[in-house]
Symmetry: C2
Subunit: 211 residues, 2 copies
């Protein structure tokens, strides 16, 4: 079996160094954007020479990929109830978005850098695409379910709509210094994108009326 790309192999001695590099990267990302971080700094932070850095990682982006692997699991965390649920369930959507916002608050520079560098770096692009696809697939399925059951109005193809929602999240969180402040508004907006309808609507109609 192949280990992570970049790292040659072996058990544990230099593993502490590998950790040190990751740790340094995390620390630096808290202070400045990815583009401003050089391999020298990463190596210095781990107390090795610049060329030794290449023993552990193939490039700066490889470090990012490793860092990303550590948080990929959390990216979808708490989204289950919303994605597997039914109808305009504001509470479960808020839970999903809150968890995501916290992640963006803590790892904003990493995520922004990763998304920015994705085109032109196959592994990053693949990571981004996989993440997006996972979200879009489930959300599109949810939309389809709701439409079939008459809980949501017709509209853009489910996958397209789901894609737009995913884009919106990323853009919104990437563009603000305080992602958590956006959660409530995103809840409203996403629900409207899926369930929103209004009298002048060209297609579809109001499914449920206020009592």
């Amino acid at each position: 079996m192949s280990t992570l790309p970049g790292r040659r192999r072996g058990p544990s001695k230099g593993d502490r160094r590998e950790q040190a590099i990751l740790e340094t990267a995390r620390a630096l990302l808290a202070r400045k954007p990815l583009a401003d971080i050089t391999i020298d700094e990463l190596a210095a932070g781990a107390e090795i020479s610049r060329s030794s850095f290449y023993f552990y990682f193939d490039s700066k982006l490889a470090v990012v990929v490793a860092l990303l692997h550590g948080i990929t699991g959390e990216l979808g965390r708490d989204a289950g109830p919303w994605l597997d649920g039914d109808g305009p369930d504001a509470e479960s959507l808020r839970a999903a978005l809150s968890a995501l916002a916290v992640l963006w608050r803590d790892q904003g520079r990493l995520l922004t850098g990763a998304f920015a560098a994705a085109p032109g770096c196959p592994p990053l692009a693949q990571w981004r695409d996989g993440l997006r696809a996972a979200h879009v697939d489930r959300l599109a399925a949810r939309i389809e379910r709701d439409r079939a059951a008459g809980r949501a109005p017709a509209g853009p193809a489910p996958r397209v709509l789901a894609g737009l929602i995913d884009d919106l999240r990323t853009a919104a969180f990437a563009g603000t210094a305080d992602p958590e402040a956006l959660v409530d508004d995103l809840v409203t907006v996403e629900l409207r994108m899926i369930y929103g309808d209004f009298g002048g609507s060209p297609l579809g109609r109001v499914i449920r009326q206020a009592p």
Copy 2:
């Protein structure tokens, strides 16, 4: 009065060269992303040496800024009827989005590159912010008008909502190879974001019902 930053001054001889550089940049951007374009290529395209390039522009980004100046006017073109109008006017919104989509279709690489490089390049950031502010201001005012007149339900603060809509547009157009195909769906989605309401809505209610 100061001319465009980067260009020293003077009348006309080397102006053709300046144009040649811009033209080369345009041509190259049609084939590859901004990040893959080097100053050598730009200079070669204008048939001057690399160091002569610096006589005309301070950097690659300065060329981008100049290119951007040429299309900034078009970015808001055809948005007037929508932004100055009233209510869920799908037709005028579609007109605004169509014009924008064409621009993204033709200048996608330039715009994507500009948005990506904006953080870390003050002039680009300023251009982006100005553009966004102009759109957000007018759209927020429109939302406010509609809400005051009872044509739109309550929801996120107008400026925030307008910001989200602006983010969505940029993200959606930047992320697709065929912006025009998204126009109809964006029309639906933006209208829902502003006017959409549904039975389970926590706030607000259906303003107009289908006959």
